[in-house]
């Protein structure tokens, strides 16, 4: 009889004491769970700790409410049947409820329940357990939070929970995070082989958080093993290299984005200035008119069509803006510029006058304040490429748009009959005229084309900046420099000019600030033009005039 009772007692002790081991077994979880519940009520502090650890390791969502109640000091034992209850004090009595379901279980007197005392050490264990349990939360956002926290504060205990959570997790993103967190937990493992293996998995990472996790491993004060130290240092170096590469890619992308804006602004100039030799200081205002046309089209859509169509207003705005600015451009050419051919300085001044008038017209109609042009849904948002480099859709679409415009224009010049006539007039006006080309009409159409492209650029630029009467002024100096830098009359040069200016600008910015970066670029161009007065891709002309 005595032997039998000793056996049973031993068995219970073994069961409770071996609970963490049992937790790794897939089946029999429920038994372990129940046993752990018993352990919570045990009088020994060590047993309680072990039980909490077991509950956390099981990843059973029922444990969450239970542990919360325990942490809050509200978990009590009903004396009548030894059941665990949540007891809320109501005067002299307690209102009981089920710790798992929250169901009411009646009111009892103070004497009918026993409080489970919780000390600080236990409370700490409960918090840790809860954070581990969050890995199993049905809410994805909560799980993500928990994974991030696990990555930041790794511990060997966390590893068990992470292993368990990995089995159930379906979200690929979260799985990746958990694997990393698992490795992070293994970093703090006392076993050298574990640490080395963890470092190995991290070497391919590009996360600054992981880099800071590895930092203590290469430090002699915190890591005793030299082999681990060298491995950690190696891994950090590789992470640094990768981060530098990502920064480079990020800068490059930003530079290309700025370059595409410059390209859009300058591409129309490449026609009016590059092909026709007309300095059109009102070019910026054509961009501004395009942006305001976008605004008007948007307002029309808001006023006249159901909201569902608003997403497509840009598709309408693009041709409308092209037409509006092309007409203004044609009027400008016929009304002013054609009287000034061969007098570039006078053209410059007259078109400047036109730009002032256009600005004031827009200011009188739309007011001097900024107008808001909304991004359609398909242009908002973006996606993360790698290592925190976010590509926003509006920038991406503008890059694509800029290239599309350039290619379309090049094709028009190269393959269409109009393009042929245009090139003929630029190369030899007299000869073209003698061959029957109506040069005046070609002039007007060329100028309208350049202006229309500026208007289309305005549609794009309205998506990333303010629409104000001064919009054009912000682009005019830059776009002239792009054309001059790239080489007048060469579309290819305009592309290279815009891209290199954009990229150089973005690479200078981190070192010198945005303003000084711009100043440096301007100084560079001024010096560059001294060296190659006709730009990067100069058309060959008479040497005497160079």
């Amino acid at each position: 009889m005595l032997r039998l009772r000793t056996l049973i007692a031993l068995l219970i002790v073994a069961l409770v004491g071996l609970a963490p081991l049992a937790a790794t077994a897939a089946d029999g979880d429920e038994e372990v769970f129940q046993a752990a519940l018993k352990g919570i009520t045990a009088s020994s502090f060590e047993e309680q700790l072990a039980a909490i650890d077991t509950l956390a390791g099981l990843g059973d969502p029922r444990a969450v409410t239970l542990l919360r109640a325990l942490g809050g000091g509200m978990l009590q034992v009903r004396k009548s049947d030894g059941a665990l209850v949540v007891a809320e004090r109501d005067g002299r009595d307690y209102i009981l409820s089920d710790p798992f379901t929250g169901e009411a279980m009646g009111t009892v007197s103070r004497r009918d329940v026993d409080k489970i005392t919780v000390n600080n050490a236990l409370r700490g264990a409960i918090t840790a357990a809860l954070s581990r349990l969050a890995l199993f939360d049905p809410d994805v956002a909560k799980r993500r939070e928990a994974v991030a926290a696990a990555l930041k504060y790794p511990s060997p205990e966390m590893a068990t929970a992470l292993n368990k959570a990995l089995e159930a997790e379906e979200d690929a993103d979260l799985r990746r995070g958990m694997e990393r967190a698992l490795a992070a937990a293994r970093i703090s493992s006392p076993d050298k082989a574990e640490r080395l293996a963890a470092i190995e998995t991290f070497a391919g990472s590009s996360d600054p958080d992981i880099r800071s996790l590895l930092m203590p491993l290469q430090d002699e004060a915190t890591e005793s093993d030299p082999e681990v130290r060298t491995a950690a240092a190696e891994a950090i170096k590789r992470i640094d290299n990768r981060l530098a590469l990502f920064r480079l890619v990020g800068n490059l992308y930003q530079g290309i984005s700025l370059g595409s804006v410059l390209l859009l602004a300058a591409i129309g100039l490449a026609i009016t200035f590059g092909v026709m030799g007309v300095i059109n200081m009102a070019h910026g205002e054509m961009i501004m008119l395009g942006a305001y046309t976008t605004f008007v089209v948007q307002e029309v859509f808001v006023a006249a069509l159901p909201p569902a169509y608003l997403n497509y207003y840009l598709i309408v705005a693009l041709p409308v803006a092209f037409l509006v600015t092309a007409l203004v451009g044609a009027a400008l050419e016929r009304g002013v510029i054609r009287f000034l051919y061969g007098r570039p300085l006078e053209t410059l001044l007259a078109t400047w006058g036109v730009s002032l008038i256009l600005q004031q017209v827009v200011r009188s109609i739309f007011g001097a304040t900024n107008r808001r042009v909304a991004n359609p849904d398909w242009m908002t948002g973006g996606f993360e490429l790698v290592g925190g480099i976010v590509l926003t859709y509006n920038r991406l679409i503008i890059i694509v748009f800029a290239f599309a415009v350039l290619i379309a224009l090049a094709a028009l010049l190269r393959y269409s009959f109009f393009g042929l006539q245009m090139r003929a007039v630029t190369q030899s006006r007299g000869m073209a005229s003698a061959m029957g080309i109506v040069t005046g009409r070609i002039d007007a159409m060329t100028f309208a084309l350049g202006s229309g492209i500026a208007g289309a650029a305005g549609v794009a630029l309205s998506q990333i900046g303010n629409v104000s009467p001064n919009l054009g002024q912000t682009y005019i100096v830059d776009s002239f420099l792009v054309v001059v830098f790239g080489g007048v009359g060469s579309l290819w040069g305009t592309l290279v000019g815009a891209m290199s200016l954009g990229i150089v600008n973005k690479f200078l910015e981190p070192y010198s600030g945005a303003m000084l970066g711009k100043v440096l670029v301007l100084v560079f161009i001024i010096l560059f033009i001294q060296k190659r007065p006709r730009g990067l891709f100069a058309l060959r002309g008479r040497a005497a005039e160079m």
Partner: protein, 391 residues
Amino acid sequence: MGPITRRIGTLQGPRGWAVFFALIAIALLVPLLNLMVPAGSLFYVPDYVVPLLGKYLCFALLALSLDLVWGFAGVLSLGHGAFFALGGYAMGMHLMREIGDRGVYGNPLLPDFMVFLDWDHLPWYWYGFDQFWFASLMVFLVPGVLAFVFGWFAFRSRITGVYLSIISQAMTYALMLAFFRNEMGFGGNNGLTDFKDVLGFDLSTPGTRAGLYVLTVLALGLAFLICRFVVKSKLGRVATAIRDAESRVRFLGYRTDRFKLFLWTLSAMLAGMAGALYVPQVGIINPGEFSPANSIEVAVWVAVGGRGTLFGAIIGAFTVNGAKSFFTGWAPEYWLYFLGALFIIVTLFLPGGLVQLASRVRDGFTGGRNRGLRAARRSARATEGETSHAT
């Protein structure tokens, strides 16, 4: 009489000299009428008029300097506002130093904005500006050196026409961006202001303002004579030839870049002087003066008056700025329409500006006396056309 004085005598005909001195006398009458005549009198000139006219005179000086390079060497600078502003900043720095410990923060050495930015010492480039002679020297030296370096590179590389216009515009644009930065140590966005006095004279008193005005009149008169002297000299004639047909002049063996560089640097120094006289009369200088739009506006003053005539630039500066004051008081929203229309009308219909209009009216549209000028213009147009076809 020495050869130089004899040549000064022949700068203009007796009628020219008479008009010159008459205009100077009329200009000098303004402060007299302001200070001597009682306030109620018919001939009294109100206080605000003196600095206003003083401002116009500074603009006229700026326009004159641009006409020297544009009208006589064919170099259209769209960055002359930069030289003007640099001269203004040099003078402004002296005025800032002269405030001494009377600033808001009472720091005897540092201007208020530096105290505000927590700077503990004066940047090296502010040294010496407490001396008036040094500041006056810098007024000429800073724009002069910048113009020399810029021009030396530009003209040597044979950058002409609109290319030069664009890079001079980029120059002033870059300077504007740079001066907007607080770290540059020129007061950033707000620029330099709150001046107290100059050489011990209180800037807010009518007497000091009259003094500055007189100084500006004399400076403009002197600058006009200097420009006249230069364009009448052999050098000036070569420059005019460069304007009309640069390649031909170069083929004849002239170093055209040097002629242009001389005029360019001289012009920048005159523009700097204009800025230095402008700042104490207006009481502020900020980076906005560097804006490309300002520099282009100067070109329209010259164009309106008539380029290549020197006195046309002065007339143009007064006309356009007078109109600006009128419009901004009467109907500010129409000012840009007017200015824009002016740009277009003058370039389309009045390439010779008001001076040409006056002579046309005087000649009853027969065009007898200006045949030479017009012929020169035609040939200029022809060569410019040649250039543009080649590109």
